[in-house]
């Protein structure tokens, strides 16, 4: 019966073994990339903004992404549904004037992993300034979003 002890221990180990796995977490960087928005002054120079407030409409109203201080760029997640555009709202003061920028694109779906599921990459990026001031103009730097390293669009102040 000496085997029995090993058998019980082995059964216990197997049970612990079988617990892991199913609910994989999607690690950052693997999923759908966010859009990097850079800031420039009107003469084309990179500009750091003292305060910037970004909000994005994901289809059910504006979602505030919060205040960023002394930044040259911000990362904003775009919509992942089948909508052809995402509206981004930018203002420089909490209760100040707000610009609306419409980012339109086509998307491509690629399977990543069990945890992340499918990721979308954005192509044929276009930026349209719907409400000017404080943003004066937009500039597309990269017309696709594959990762979060490169600035996709610049907002000119």
């Amino acid at each position: 019966m000496k085997y029995l002890r090993y058998l019980i221990v082995l059964c216990g180990l197997c049970m612990i073994w079988s617990c892991g796995g199913d609910d994989d977490i999607c690690e950052s960087g693997e999923g759908t990339p966010r859009m990097k928005i850079g800031f420039k002054s009107q003469d084309g120079k990179i500009k750091a903004l003292e305060n910037v407030y970004v909000a994005v409409d994901y289809g059910s109203g504006k979602v505030e992404l919060g205040r960023q201080q002394n930044v040259e760029s911000v990362l904003a997640p775009l919509r992942v549904d089948d909508n052809a555009y995402t509206d981004v709202y930018v203002r420089l003061e909490d209760k100040g004037k707000e610009s609306q920028v419409r980012i339109s694109y086509t998307t491509k779906a690629t399977y990543v992993s069990p945890g992340c599921g499918v990721k979308k990459s954005y192509e044929n990026l276009k930026a349209e300034l719907i409400t000017a001031d404080p943003v004066k103009a937009t500039e597309v730097a990269q017309n696709q979003i594959e990762n979060e390293d490169k600035t996709s669009i610049y907002l000119l102040f």
């Binding site: 085997y3 058998l7 999607c26 992942v80």
Partner: protein, 182 residues
């Protein structure tokens, strides 16, 4: 000896997972038994934004060694062994999630396709004769490791018939069989 998994068959009536499996085993040496298992499983995976289904038959072949047995009846006792398994099945992923910001999700659907998977599994269990009849109860645990799976558009399968949940390569199965010894 021929057995049918009574527990999983019973559970099939009350859950989305329908698993029917049975085995045939035969003593080939004093302590060594050969075993062949076959079954059919139909299962769904609806979790974390996924909506998938898979169904198909599977087979397993292997052998086990009686570690401890009854002196009066060599078929009573505890055993350990190994098997290789394979499944040939049909799967359909109606939704695979696209994870967006703040819980905003959408999904992508993929058409149904035929796939196959292969795995190795251990078997640890025991057999006990029911009174003086030819019937036995055979209970075993089956730790599994997924060795190979074909993939549709690179998608790791979430469920495999005969294997179970497969988002990780390790899985654990069990069976509670009623067997008849000829």
């Amino acid at each position: 000896m021929v057995g049918l998994d009574a527990l999983n068959t019973g559970v099939s009536f009350f859950s989305d997972r329908m698993l029917y499996q049975g085995f045939i085993s035969s003593r080939i040496k004093e302590n060594v038994h050969a075993i062949a298992e076959a079954g059919f499983e139909k299962n769904v995976y609806q979790k974390n934004g996924y909506d998938a289904k898979a169904s198909g038959p599977f087979v397993k072949l292997g052998a086990f060694y009686m570690l401890a047995k009854d002196t009066e009846n060599p078929f009573n006792g505890f055993y350990a062994g190994g098997k290789v398994g394979g499944a040939f099945y049909n799967q359909e992923y109606m939704a695979i999630p696209v994870r967006g910001f703040g819980g905003s999700t959408s999904s992508v659907a993929f058409p149904s396709s035929s796939q196959s998977s292969f795995w190795v599994e251990g078997t640890l269990g025991g057999r006990v004769q029911l009174f003086d009849s030819n019937f036995y109860i055979d209970v075993n645990l089956q730790p599994r490791y997924l060795a190979y799976t074909s993939k549709q558009d690179n998608i790791s399968p979430m469920i495999i018939p005969g294997f179970g949940r497969s988002s990780s390569k390790f899985n654990m199965g069990f069976a509670w069989n009623i067997a008849y010894k000829f």
